[in-house]
Symmetry: C2
Subunit: 306 residues, 2 copies
């Protein structure tokens, strides 16, 4: 697997402008409550040399404690939405507002880093997701992983110019997914860990900008690289015909060998993993993905020195 | 605490007609999928001397994979709803339909037992809830608890003639709450246990009716008796101002002493348990109860010989 990062135009870009977004999904409440906290206490985010802004992604969905009202906001940042005129679809209009407010994407005004705070119902600990990789991102995520025992690194390569995800509004993107947390609820432990990881990120960026910054030596890290999504077995009416097998449910980041039990149908029959190579699933049994036809995301595991 | 059951008109009532309902909440999918399975394979429910019917409580909410569309169906069975004419509120109309189909409550046509299948996002294992207690219920739940290691018994006394809960459509009521399961998802392990417990219930009822039925000797059982619901701390705008404390979250059925940490606010301050006697919380951090203003239900623990 070749995960050589694309050549960066700068080997050591300055990271000055940082946009933090919570509540992109209104029922993922850790980010919602953190943004509300930081609006009241902005001093918590102040670091020398950094300009940090916070934004509630989808305020109307947050009020309703729902993922979205009309359309998943975190799939609304593709150019065909951003470049279109007002559509009357709440989340599409909000994506254009956020693009103007935080970006605009592709312009000189983009922040150096956009962090989006999410929760998942899957057992993913604190997963750090990034779509674009360069030397800064490598060192940043290595630092975050070193300071959070539940951290996992998930690299999901996406062309930032056509991405449908919100954090593509920054020159560098980062998403924290904290789980398992039931959507619409708060888990104090995950909330505290997400808050601490955000502060670690800011501390690292402030240090990174200093002329005397010394890179920590490379560390060996597990990296999970996006492979593909798989759906539930379906019956002739398109209805889900099986559940995640108990041996896989809750086992995000554990190896799924070829031929292992994968699903269990309602008559108690096992559906076996048809893949011919091992996979490491994540977003296993994510509640919000039932409607998207995703039972889990398969990744490939590799080891990097970052 | 006095939990002497009300005197039963029959010490050994026959249990012939049994109504099983799933999908009273459309996103509590264990019961939804079990009812769909039993519609295809009714032989799974057949037992000598029993007439078992199955009903999907709220089919439109099941299709939408939501708890309800307009109003919580499992709060629609109070007389002021059941006795009213059509209101145009989906769940109120459905409650009247179900009353006619399964009940009517208070009539001779009521089933001897109504079982309602639910899931909870709380860590409640397989909780058996009953609102009305008599000798049959004692022996039934003792039997179920003996056959399911995750079983817990929760007695929530409710006057069946004015109850707002669906299973009050039966002469005896039983609810199985299986969790933790994210609403809108399926957990194969809990699904299988709920299915097995339903079959145990039918086996017991079939045996109970036989003239040669021998009562098993009384067993010592933990019983959790409803005390009261408590809400989250709120700010001046009525917004939730604190999370369940990590020492309580997920700790359903564990003793909560007076003065123990109960909530944690967003500034990291502890809110202490103000009660002066120990409690055993359940429905801790239940997702569906955020909108109801319930952070958890406090119960009192007792030991019975059933």
């Amino acid at each position: 697997m070749d995960i050589t990062p694309p050549l960066s135009p700068l080997s050591h870009p300055e990271i000055r402008e940082i946009a933090i977004v919570g509540g992109t999904h209104g029922n993922e409440r850790s980010g919602v409550e953190l943004v509300r906290l930081w609006e009241k206490r902005p001093e918590l985010l102040r670091r020398p040399g950094l300009n940090v802004t916070t934004t509630l992604g989808n305020p109307r969905a947050c009020e309703a404690n729902r993922r979205y009202l009309e359309r998943d906001l975190n799939r609304c940042f593709a150019p065909e939405v951003l470049d279109a005129p007002s559509s009357g679809v709440l989340e599409e209009d909000r994506a254009r507002e956020l693009n103007a407010l935080i970006g605009p994407r592709g312009s000189d005004r983009m922040p150096d880093l956009c962090l989006d705070l999410h929760n998942t119902s899957s057992n993913m600990g604190l997963t750090i997701i990034f779509n674009v990789l360069d030397h800064f991102v490598e060192k940043l995520v290595a630092h975050l992983a070193a300071n959070e025992p539940k951290a996992r690194l998930y690299y999901q390569p996406v062309d930032p110019t056509t991405s449908e995800f919100l954090p593509s509004l920054g020159r560098h993107d980062l998403t924290i997914e904290a789980g398992p947390q039931h959507h619409g609820t708060l888990c104090a432990d995950l909330h505290s860990r997400m808050e601490a990881m955000t502060y670690e990120m800011l501390d690292f960026c402030a240090a990174w900008n200093r002329p005397d910054f010394k890179e920590p030596p490379p560390r060996e890290l597990e990296l999970f690289v996006d492979w593909k999504n798989i759906d539930y077995p379906r019956d002739e009416n398109g209805r889900i015909a099986a559940m995640i097998h108990p041996g896989v449910d809750g086992m995000d980041y554990c190896e799924l060998p070829p031929g292992a039990p994968l699903f269990l149908d309602f008559d108690g029959r096992i559906v076996w993993n048809p893949e011919t190579e091992p996979a490491w699933p994540l977003f296993v049994n994510e509640q919000a993905y039932y409607e998207k036809g995703i039972a889990m995301t398969l990744t490939r595991r590799t080891v990097v020195q970052w």
